[in-house]
């Protein structure tokens, strides 16, 4: 099964590579590969460290203010939702590609849209956290009993 998956995968990816070099000129192939390489670098060396930094700030904030676990969980969930959606919406929020000759492209008020998403993120994070779906009163409890795999009820407390 593993060998089959790997074999088919190599063949399919190889077909993609052949498609790339056979349908585009060398400059376009280089630009394509460069885009993929830069995307990996931007993720691994810019975005991921930024998220780690943000995580550290949030943990420090929680530690110093002494807010409860559920407030902290609501904050984290809201940041995950809003941060990801903001990243997805970069072309829209930046108005990139907009053309005055085509008013049907990017027709909405995206600033207002972003604030709506921000409000929704906070509400949804709070709702999930305060119904006990994100954190526990006693974190790590289920790790204690060795070899006792069991489905915990997340809001059993």
């Amino acid at each position: 099964m593993r060998g089959l998956l790997v074999g088919i995968g190599v063949a399919v990816a190889g077909y993609g590579g052949w498609l790339l070099v056979s349908t585009q000129d060398a400059a376009a192939v280089r630009a394509t590969v460069l885009w993929a390489v830069v995307a990996v670098i931007v993720h691994d060396l810019v975005l991921a460290p930024l998220v780690i930094g943000l995580g550290w700030v949030v943990r420090e904030l929680v530690r110093r203010t002494g807010v409860g676990g559920r407030v902290a969980a609501a904050l984290v969930a809201a940041l995950v939702v809003l941060g990801s959606v903001t990243l997805v919406a970069v072309p829209v929020l930046g108005g990139f590609g907009a053309d005055p000759r085509d008013p049907t492209l990017l027709p909405r008020d995206y600033g207002a849209g972003w604030w709506l998403v921000a409000g929704f993120s906070v509400l949804a994070g709070t709702a999930l956290a305060f119904t006990g779906l994100l954190s526990e009163e006693r974190p790590g409890r289920s790790d204690r009993g060795p070899g006792a795999p069991r489905r915990r009820r997340p809001h059993g407390s």
């Binding site: 995968g9 399919v12 498609l19 993929a36 969930a77 990139f96 909405r108 849209g113 999930l128 954190s135």
Partner: protein, 395 residues
């Protein structure tokens, strides 16, 4: 990360990452849905490419008329949902980037070769996945900050992404099976140092991830379906609404304003050496038909509209050509994409395939293809040729 203060900055090690959320138990579960999203985006993308062929080996049926629309909606919704899933997936496995491999000796060991191959395949997978998602999102707003062909590279990279995904699943299969057979909170597959509780539980992070994927899909890509449009506050298009039907290329962008407004415009219909020229007034005097059909763009937006005009099969009949003819459509547009298309025999013969003169009861606007445009069921928008100059029966 440990020891943030006081010490010299160094490259982190995998052991520096202590959160028990950075676990294979989460990576596998998020990866499972991510794999489903990639598979959906891949299949619908391949279907869309096939639908754009001039002469597909097997004809695409004209019913259901909404088939292509749903295909494109699935494509952009699954692709958009994949962004947060990929980000969370990469977050859970990020420490592995800093795992030390075996030391390279003079003679490469089997273990070293294995590590190099495995990491290489993951580099290809992550690179192609990030390529697909970033270029796809930019394409939705027609933003092309690159020098390659979006269509060509996005299509080729799709095969590379799905192929390297299969390799990745093959390599990780024992781990996937073992993790999925145990509880989410099981620590058997974790790094020994990954024990610190996070601000969320593992279930909490999973729930947050599902919520994020759903939110991203609806608010950013929901404009592709009218039922989701009102929630799609960050979508690049409207599915209908007060601004009417979206357009992909305006008459000005296509440089056809002068030719399309000319009073002496005629639609030429050719069959062999026979030809018929019809002015717009003459087209209006022919039997008019009204159909409600969606127009669905390859970029993912779609909207339904009511079209009125002459059946293409009636026009073809004027030249005594058979009703199930293949018809080449040419636009007044002189350059750029979408200036020509081919109607396969089953499309020409369909009663709903019109040379449309009116849209939602009003005369077609220049931007929607005045004086006349093609509208046919279950076709990519790029093939619904605007500013028609000529219909030629090819065979």
């Amino acid at each position: 990360m440990s020891s943030p203060g006081g010490q010299r900055v160094r490259v982190p090690r995998a052991d520096d990452f202590g959160s028990r959320l950075r676990s294979a138990a989460l990576a596998v579960r998020v990866g499972r849905l991510l794999g489903v999203c990639f598979a959906l985006a891949f299949v619908t993308g391949v279907i869309s490419h096939y639908a754009q062929l001039d002469r597909p080996p097997l004809p695409i049926p004209t019913s259901p008329a909404w088939g292509y629309r749903v295909n494109q909606a699935l494509h952009v919704l699954s692709g958009t949902a994949a962004v947060p899933l990929l980000l969370v997936k990469l977050w859970t496995v990020y420490p592995l980037l800093f795992t030390r491999g075996p030391r390279p000796g003079l003679v490469p060991s089997r273990a070293l070769v294995r590590v190099v191959l495995e990491r290489g395949s993951i580099a290809v997978l992550v690179g192609s996945a990030l390529f697909q998602l970033s270029t796809g999102l930019a394409n939705v707003t027609q933003w092309y900050p690159w020098s390659f062909s979006f269509r060509g590279s996005h299509y080729a990279m799709a095969w590379i992404a799905i192929g390297s995904l299969l390799v990745h699943i093959g390599v990780k299969l024992p781990l996937i099976r073992s993790v999925l057979s145990r509880d989410l909170d099981d620590t058997g597959a974790d790094r020994p140092t990954a024990v610190a509780p996070g601000l969320l539980t593992r279930r909490g992070l999973l729930r947050t991830t599902w919520l994020t994927a759903a939110t991203a899909a609806v608010v950013s890509a929901g404009g592709t379906l009218s039922v989701l449009d009102r929630f799609a506050v960050l979508s690049a298009r409207r599915s209908g609404g007060p601004d009417g039907l979206p357009i992909n290329r305006s008459a000005e962008e296509a440089d056809v304003v002068e030719a399309a407004s000319a009073g002496d415009w005629t639609c030429q219909i050719w069959y062999g050496d026979r030809s018929v020229d019809l002015r717009r007034a003459e087209l209006e005097q022919m039997t008019q038909h009204t159909v409600t059909l969606p127009i669905a763009c390859v970029e993912g937006w779609s909207a339904s509209a009511t079209w009125t005009g002459v059946r293409v099969r009636d026009l073809v009949a004027l030249t005594d050509a058979p009703a199930n003819a293949e018809v080449a459509v040419t636009s007044l547009q002189r350059r750029g994409g979408a200036r020509a298309s081919v109607l396969p025999p089953n499309v020409t013969a369909d009663d709903r395939t019109l040379l449309a003169l009116r849209l939602n009861g009003a005369v077609l606007s220049l931007d929607h293809g005045y004086p006349a445009r093609v509208i046919a069921p279950n076709r990519p928008g790029v093939l619904q040729t605007k500013w028609v100059q000529r219909l030629e029966v090819v065979r």
